[in-house]
Chain length 210, copies 2
DNA sequence: GGATTATTGTGATAAATTTCACTAAAAACC
DNA sequence: GGTTTTTAGTGAAATTTATCACAATAATCC
């Protein structure tokens, strides 16, 4: 069954494959790829099998074809417009990050309540929050990133969904409630850091899972 | 068995509990907490049981005591000094984020190769990369955040570990190799966003897992 | 062209994680 | 003080996820 973890591995395979391709690898084997992403070769093959991707007995997978298939699965064959709500520290980092452009992701605008943050002249403009819904509808944006304080996150989520957003990457440390059919993925950087601290303090070796 | 996922839930329980405490909740029940973090009540109890945390039949858990125990488990009873390597977009966001201070995490310095980024006058100074090892040793820092380009990440990792770093939060999209006993936690924001895009494109409802 | 080798694809198995469902105990009620 | 109610704690069961191990097959070698 396709779940978050498998899709995350798909992304990792793709990233690794782009490197291999750059290095001139015409074909790649499941165990090479496995090593590159920290998985087992059987898992790589099982994952591919799940998405109907097949290779060649003895010949491995042809790098460019494989990349092509992953691109398609991950929605890279068209540019995905994304907005960022909350132009604080993380929001700003995401707005400024130029690497997304090469990856089929275009941050098209940021939104904030604070008038001091508004700037329409930027390559990626920062607009007032009250223009957000119209913008989403007009530009047909379906993906949003929430990077506002936790107290505001649910309201922002509701507004986004009402305007047509179907997928949310949420950095606020709360569980967002959204109607069926809306994808919510939570990232909590403080939790991630606390995880490291926990395992360092308990002298564990490698973090299991993820 | 204690794994990354359980510890992540521990962090989430703690965050939710702080809110409950602020709202004046003296005690809290497993299903209240479960709802707040998007888990089941049985899971909350199992998790607590794993860490030897117990409540009261019918009475739930006393909020302040529970918070105290989680604080201790997550290393909040002493301030954890952390350094950030790579003062790009994410690195800058982490350096500037003031919220860590209240959470027992102190970003004590940033490091970068680019002389233009160096600034010793800041509240959190940004120092040249070649001062990093001495700094780590002198300040006895054990946790590091890697926010450098992927090509540089492994070298930074090696340097950090050689200087005494025991835990790494890695934002570079590669698998870091580190000796046994060094904790590595990988966060890949592009993957997280691609995950949302995938599930939106395949019309899925809620992301399973995580 | 037959034998050998390397690698995929996958059913079976194992391991990990979560949920179920029930017991026990404490509190509240009458 | 007994009865009822509520919730923790936890073995057992179910589900999910990952690994194993081997058959099938294509390339290579001799």
């Amino acid at each position: 069954m396709v779940n978050k973890k498998v899709v995350a591995r798909l992304s990792s395979y793709r990233t690794a494959l782009l490197r291999f391709h750059e290095l001139g690898f015409v074909k790649v084997f499941s165990d090479t790829l496995a090593e590159a992403v920290g998985a087992t070769s059987a898992q790589v093959r099982k994952d591919f099998s799940l998405f109907g991707i097949s290779g060649n007995k003895k010949g491995g997978y042809q790098t460019d074809i494989l990349i092509e298939k992953l691109q398609s699965l991950l929605g890279k064959d068209r540019v995905q417009p994304v907005i960022v709500v909350g132009i604080g520290n993380i929001g700003t980092a995401l707005l400024k990050y130029r690497g997304f452009e090469d990856e089929g992701i275009r941050i098209v605008a940021g939104f904030d309540l604070d008038p001091a943050k508004i700037n329409r002249k930027l390559k990626v403009p920062v607009l007032p929050a009250d223009e957000m819904q119209d913008f989403i509808r007009e530009q047909r944006v379906t993906i949003g990133i929430i990077a506002v304080p936790d107290a505001a996150a649910q309201a922002v989520c509701d507004t986004l969904v009402a305007a047509g957003i179907r997928g949310i990457l949420n950095f606020a440390p709360i569980v967002l409630r959204a109607e069926e059919g809306v994808v919510v993925n939570n990232v909590n950087l403080q939790n991630e850091l606390e995880n490291v601290i926990y395992f360092v303090n308990t002298l564990a070796k490698q973090i299991k899972g993820k």
